[in-house]
Amino acid sequence: MIATLVSYSLLSVYSAMAIYTLAFIMFTIDLARRSASAPVALGAVVGSAVTVGRGSTALLERLTTDAPVGATPKGPRQLRIAMALTVIAWLLHVAGAVLRGVAAGRVPWANMFEFTLTATAIVVGVFLAVQFWQDLRFLGVFITGFALIALGIATTNFYVDVIPLPPALQSGWLVIHVFVASLGTGFFAIGAAISIVQLLQTRREAGQAKRLKFLDTLPSAERLEVLAFRIIVIGFVLWTFTLMAGAIWAERAWGRYWGWDTKEVWTFIIWTIFAGYIHARATRGWRGSRSAVLAIIGFTAVMFNFTIVNLFFKGLHAYSGL
């Protein structure tokens, strides 16, 4: 029974990966097409920094709600196909995670394989969800690419069989703490992706990176910065909660709420980097590219925390199952 469910789960994940690959290709074609076609005029973004009071900077902006993405309101055909494929792949991906959870009789995020499986599903889920708020489909290449690489590594390098939870992990906090951490990771991932585009866009606006023509069809660097910020602050709140929930759980399971265990250290480092990012956005001279670089460093630290720290650093969080 468990074996059957596990194999269905894997089948579902492999199918999801195949379809993510197709989606990735379609997103790439879409970008290539944008490079080829004549650039569309940029949506005007009026922005001017106004200093209000000491130590705080307010940004006065007119935000155009329609990001210029393509000719038709719903975007070109390649993009629509790519999105449809992403949705299908995501559904299979979620099904894979759910089946895994059913097979194990618990939440599917108790070892590195399961965590990668679920967290990437959440990252893609956040990507799909934010489309209702903002058209960020141009990030599809990043997100599907990211999901593919992560799932590839998970299925080949992190795979472990379904095993029961050791006593220390048997807690409601496993459900809350890890889920919120994944959700936060999803927002940080999208924030970092936007920040990368922002850096490219800044170069292009300065007359460099001329070959990356598709950038002409994307929002201005300034607008990208605002979008990234709004997404990252949500990630930051979730991360703050993760840190606190982790401390509460540590108090229950290990008898102390904070012990500078390697994983705790890195969670703290990430939190501090993003606190720095938020400050940078409010510090003259640090807005723009510098804060974007901080956002990217922050997300790199999140990835480092999950891969290198889990696998090679010694600590109490030895749950990779490898």
Partner: protein, 537 residues
């Protein structure tokens, strides 16, 4: 980009700090200059990023606080490097001088930042919304609408609409005495949230730093059937906080009646993996009735202001030694330390008195004994199914009489000779429960009487814990309010037209990130028009 240039106030302080024309102001000038620098956004940012970087080394090198054995091992493996690391306090990164210096500077900066802002904010809470700007056209969401209402009604209605949405309002007259505009501001809570957030961070630091000093942590290994009393001399190890006094120990006892582990039996991928630990205990507060309670991982026992955690478990074989005449000289459980998931366990036994010679033993316990191809013993399951205890035995000087504290779990072999084991004539002693064998050289006999389990309990007392939680919740609440409550100003202005009528102008101004401002102004325009038309009917 001019980003690396000093900020404006840096420049403005420059003349003072030169101090040539105003030698008297020199010190004050410098002090003020440094204070301004320390409490600038730039410094806060710099210190935050520095703190993040400074935290890294402690994750690369084992820490005394979380992994003392790792530190010892690291020093053995890297004798040269560890001297340098030791000098820079890298093994105690998070209490090191340099790490502390960074976060203390950050928090001084934070205090210096929060106090003036709090003052400013309190005044702002009492102040009226600011005067209406002369020209609204360049502001967010500007819109200009015709109306048939008269100026007074329009303004009064606008005020009501804005008030209903939580704005604080004030009417102003641009020329003369007749009011011609409403100025409104809302979202003071944003700044309040920000201040609560930063202040609560200070609260967390202070409660952790000072409050933690009143607590203690202690460890105690307790064998099934035995009890542990909460008095200082009873702990195996004890770490008091800086301000700890012995009177903080509430007298109580915890007896471990039974310890029941559950191991996975059905899933062969995890066969023998521990899936549950339960300790049935009897607790007694002085002068009260004993109480039966259950202690589990993830569910500590609350007793006498402390938490008691179930952190480890293993076996404590009871070995009985008799002298050649058959009189018992030693019989007690000795906790063996688990070495792997199958609970292969290692123990050390020292018998200084009672026999003709001092005896020392290094023993292994295999709960479910299995023989490897090499002939060596191993354990194939953590449960006690076919236990074997093997002992290598030594005689000589145990070194217990020189007054130096010895680790109970190691045997110093310097002055000892093996009398049973691989390096002696007699083979390693092998026992299962109930076995009794004669010792070499006619010293006496040894019996494996029983193999009860032990649990290791951690006892913590941290009176500041609840406060840390309170401040942490304030941090989160402050963060949410300060990030997601928009602070905005909105103005409604009456402008007379050339034809003698009036038009209404609306616009808003964001303070901080405020994506929804434009929509909010549009909403006010629409609600206002609605209210006015109701009035006119």
């Amino acid at each position: 980009m001019d980003s690396s240039r000093p900020s404006d106030h840096f420049d403005s302080e420059q003349p003072e700090s030169k101090g040539i024309t105003q030698p008297k102001l020199g010190f004050v000038g410098y002090a003020r200059f440094f204070w301004r620098q320390l409490t600038s956004m730039r410094t806060a940012l710099f210190l935050l990023l520095l703190l993040a970087i400074a935290a890294i080394p402690g994750s690369l090198v084992p820490q005394v606080s979380s992994d003392p054995n790792g530190v010892i091992q690291y020093k053995i493996n890297n004798p040269g490097l560890s001297k340098v690391l030791e000098f820079f306090q890298v093994f105690t990164t998070y209490s090191s001088v340099w790490f502390s210096a960074i976060y203390l500077l950050l928090f001084i900066s934070l205090i210096g930042c929060v106090i003036p802002r709090t003052k400013h904010h309190l005044l702002a809470l009492l102040a009226k919304p600011p005067k209406t700007p002369a020209r609204l056209e360049r502001l967010v969401g500007f819109s200009s609408e015709g109306t048939e209402a008269d100026a007074a009604t329009a303004l009064e209605t606008a005020r009501a609409v804005l008030r209903k949405q939580g704005y604080r309002t004030e009417v102003y007259a641009s020329t003369g005495m007749t009011p011609d505009s409403v100025s409104a501001e809302r979202g003071y809570l944003r700044e309040t949230g920000n201040l609560v957030f930063h202040t609560a961070l200070i609260g967390v630091l202070v409660t952790v730093g000072i409050g933690g000093g009143f607590g203690y942590t202690g460890q105690k290994v307790v064998v099934e059937g035995k009890a542990f009393a909460n008095v200082l001399g009873n702990y195996d190890s004890f770490n008091p906080g800086r301000f700890f006094s012995e009177s903080a120990l509430v007298p109580y006892s915890v007896q471990v009646d039974k310890f029941t582990p559950v191991y996975e039996e059905n899933n062969f991928n995890a066969y023998g993996q521990a899936i549950d630990y339960t300790a049935n205990v009897t607790t007694t507060m002085r002068g009260e009735q004993p109480q039966k309670r259950v202690l589990k991982v993830n569910s500590p026992l609350e007793i006498g202001g402390t938490q008691v955690y179930l952190l480890g478990n293993g076996y404590a074989p009871v070995l009985t030694f008799r002298d050649p005449k058959g009189a018992i000289v030693w019989s007690q459980p000795t906790p063996f330390l688990p070495q792997d998931a199958k609970l292969t366990s290692l123990g050390v036994i020292k018998i200084p008195d009672g026999l003709s010679q001092q005896l020392g033993m290094i023993g292994f316990l295999y709960p479910t004994t299995d023989q490897l191809a090499s002939g060596a013993l191993a354990s194939s399951h953590p449960d006690l199914r076919a236990p074997t205890v093997t002992l290598e035995m030594y005689t000589g000087d145990l070194g217990l009489n020189d007054g130096i504290a010895r680790n109970a779990y190691t045997l110093n072999l310097t002055h000892l000779t093996q009398i049973a084991g691989r390096k002696s004539a007699a083979p390693t002693i092998k026992l299962t429960i109930g076995d009794r064998v004669e010792l070499p050289n006619g010293i006496g006999s040894i019996e494996l009487t029983a193999i009860p389990r032990f649990v290791s309990l951690d006892v913590h007392r941290d009176p500041s814990q609840a406060w840390v939680l309170v401040f942490a919740i304030l941090v989160l609440a402050g963060l949410l309010t300060s990030l997601f409550i928009p602070r905005r100003r909105v103005w409604v202005k009456v402008v007379s037209t050339t034809s003698g009528g009036i038009r209404l102008e609306y616009a808003g101004l964001a303070r901080g990130e405020d994506p929804g401002l434009e929509a909010a102004v549009a909403d006010i325009v629409q609600k206002h028009a609605q209210q006015l038309s109701l009035r006119l009917k």
